[in-house]
C-alpha cells in the first residue's frame, strides 16, 4: 500500500528522515516545473527546489495536518521563487543594461512573417518573446499567472498561496494577462 502524503508527513515530523526523503522524491519534479515557470531559468529553478525542501523541513512542525502537503510545498516554492526573482530584479535594476542584440536590431522588433502558426509557435523567436513578456510581469503577477494558467489552481487557491484575498489574486491574474496580451498580440495577429 502506498502511504498518503499525510501519513508520511507525520513520520517525517517525528524525525524520520527516510519519510522526508520520500516526500522529496514525490514532489521534486512538479516543484521544478513550477519554479522553472516562475524563474525562467533551469539553474535557478533547481536552487528553488532545494531551498524549498530545506525550508519545508525546518517548518514541518508548523504544517497543518488538515492541509495538502503538495499545496503547502507550492506555497513555499512560490515564495522561494518570488524571493529569487525579486532579488534578481533588484540586481538588474542596479546594473547598467547589457547590450541587447534584439533591442538594437530593428528587424527583431518586427513580428515574424512566417505564415504557418505551427511553425511560429515552435520557433525560438516566439519562445523568446513569450519569455521576455513573462519577465515583464511583476513577481506577484507572474506567480499568480503561473499558478492559475499552468498549474490550474482556482483563484481561491492562488490567493491562499499568495496569502491574499481571492479578489486580489484575480486582479494579479488580470494584470498579467493584460500585459501578456499587449506584448504578444501583434505576434499572434500576424500568425493568423
Amino acid at each position: 500500500m502506498e502511504l498518503t502524503d499525510a501519513a508520511i508527513v507525520s513520520r517525517a515530523r517525528a524525525g524520520d528522515t527516510d519519510a522526508f526523503r520520500e516526500l522529496v522524491e514525490r514532489h521534486s519534479r512538479s516543484l521544478f516545473r513550477l519554479a522553472f515557470r516562475m524563474t525562467g531559468n533551469q539553474q535557478d529553478a533547481e536552487d528553488v527546489v532545494q531551498e524549498s525542501f530545506l525550508r519545508a523541513y525546518r517548518q514541518l512542525a508548523s504544517f497543518d495536518d488538515r492541509a495538502s502537503f503538495g499545496t503547502w510545498m507550492y506555497r513555499i516554492a512560490s515564495n522561494c521563487s518570488l524571493d529569487l526573482v525579486r532579488a534578481r530584479k533588484r540586481r538588474n535594476d542596479r546594473t547598467v543594461p547589457a547590450d541587447d542584440d534584439r533591442a538594437e536590431d530593428p528587424m527583431a522588433q518586427l513580428p515574424s512573417t512566417d505564415p504557418t502558426p505551427e511553425r511560429i509557435a515552435l520557433s525560438g523567436e516566439v519562445r523568446q518573446r513569450v519569455a521576455d513578456a513573462m519577465e515583464e510581469l511583476s513577481p506577484t503577477e507572474r506567480t499568480a499567472f503561473v499558478l492559475r494558467h499552468f498549474e490550474g489552481m482556482r483563484m481561491e487557491e492562488v490567493g491562499r498561496v499568495l496569502e491574499c484575498q481571492p479578489g486580489a489574486a484575480k486582479h494579479s491574474v488580470f494584470r498579467a494577462v493584460q500585459k501578456l496580451r499587449r506584448a504578444l498580440d501583434p505576434l499572434v495577429s500576424v500568425a493568423r
Binding site: E25, R26, S28, F32, R37, F53, R75, A121, H149
Partner: protein, 251 residues
C-alpha cells in the same frame, strides 16, 4: 448591448465565471466579443509553447542527495530499530518514573526536606511530560496512518496493530502515574487513547473499507487526534520554549 469586459473574458477562459452561462451566450451572439476572445485565446495558447525542461525520473533522488547533509537526522533510530529497543526504552522510562515517583513520596515525608522537596515534584513532572509526550507522538502516528489510509481497498494493519499493542502496554504506567499525581487532564486523554489503541490491537488485522471508515469516524467523533494535539501542545509549553515549534513563521 453590453459587451463583455476583458476580465470577464479571462474568467470565461479559465472557467471561473461561476455557474452563469451569460458569457457563453453573449459570445454566441456578439461577433465583436468573439473576436476579442479569439485574440485572448491565441495569446494564452502561445504562452503554452514556453518549454519546460523535462527532468529525469530520478530527479527527486538527485535533489535528496544534494540536501541530505543539511537535513539533520532526529531520533531516526527510534523508528527503524528492532522491537527490543522499544522494550528497553519502555523499561528504562518505567524505571525512571517509578524512581522519581518513589523519591517524590519519600522526600515529601522527610522531616527537613525543604530544598529537595521543592525540586523533586518539578523533576517528577518533567519526566512524566517527556515520557508521555513521546508516547503521544507515536500514538498519533499510528492513528494518523489509519485515518489517512486509502479507504477504497482492504487494508492489512498488522504492523499498526503491533505498534498499538506496544503502546497500550507502555501507557499503563503513565496512566497510573498521572492518576497518582492527580493530573486528571493527562490521565483522561491517556485513557481515551488507550481504549482506541486497544481496540485496534485486538481487532482484525485486515480491515475492509467500511471498517476503516468506522475507525476514522470514531477518531473524529471522539476527537482523539485533537485531544492528543492539544495535550502535546500543552506539554511542549510546560517543557520550555525551546521545545515549541516556530509559530507564525512566514514561509
Amino acid at each position: 448591448m453590453n459587451h463583455l469586459s476583458e476580465e470577464e473574458l479571462i474568467l470565461h477562459y479559465y472557467g471561473e465565471e461561476g455557474d452563469s452561462p451569460e458569457a457563453a451566450l453573449h459570445l454566441n451572439e456578439c461577433a465583436e466579443c468573439r473576436e476579442l476572445y479569439g485574440s485572448l485565446q491565441r495569446v494564452l495558447n502561445v504562452v503554452n509553447t514556453l518549454p519546460v525542461p523535462e527532468m529525469a525520473p530520478d530527479y527527486g533522488t538527485q535533489v535528496w542527495r544534494r540536501i541530505e547533509r543539511h537535513v539533520p537526522a532526529r531520533r531516526r533510530w527510534w523508528f527503524t530499530g528492532p522491537a527490543w529497543r522499544w522494550a528497553a526504552a519502555g523499561t528504562a522510562f518505567a524505571g525512571l518514573l517509578v524512581a522519581a515517583f518513589t523519591a517524590g513520596r519519600f522526600y515529601q515525608r522527610s522531616p527537613a526536606p525543604t530544598a529537595i522537596a521543592k525540586a523533586d515534584p518539578a523533576a517528577h513532572e518533567k519526566i512524566l511530560l517527556v515520557a508521555v509526550g513521546d508516547y503521544l507522538e507515536r500514538s498519533q502516528m499510528v492513528l494518523i496512518e489509519l485515518a489517512n489510509a486509502d479507504p477504497k481497498a482492504s487494508l492489512d494493519i498488522s504492523a499498526e496493530q503491533e505498534r498499538a499493542g506496544d503502546l497500550v502496554s507502555e501507557s499503563r504506567l503513565y496512566r497510573q502515574t498521572a492518576a497518582h499525581t492527580g493530573d486528571t487532564a493527562v490521565s483522561n486523554v491517556l485513557d481515551d487513547v488507550d481504549r482506541v489503541l486497544m481496540d485496534i490491537a485486538r481487532g482484525p488485522s485486515q480491515l475492509s473499507p467500511a471498517e476503516l471508515e468506522n475507525v476514522r469516524r470514531r477518531l473524529e467523533a471522539e476527537g482523539i487526534l485533537l485531544k492528543i494535539r492539544v495535550l502535546s501542545s500543552n506539554m511542549r509549553n510546560h517543557e520550555g520554549p525551546e521545545a515549541q515549534p516556530a509559530a507564525g513563521q512566514k514561509l
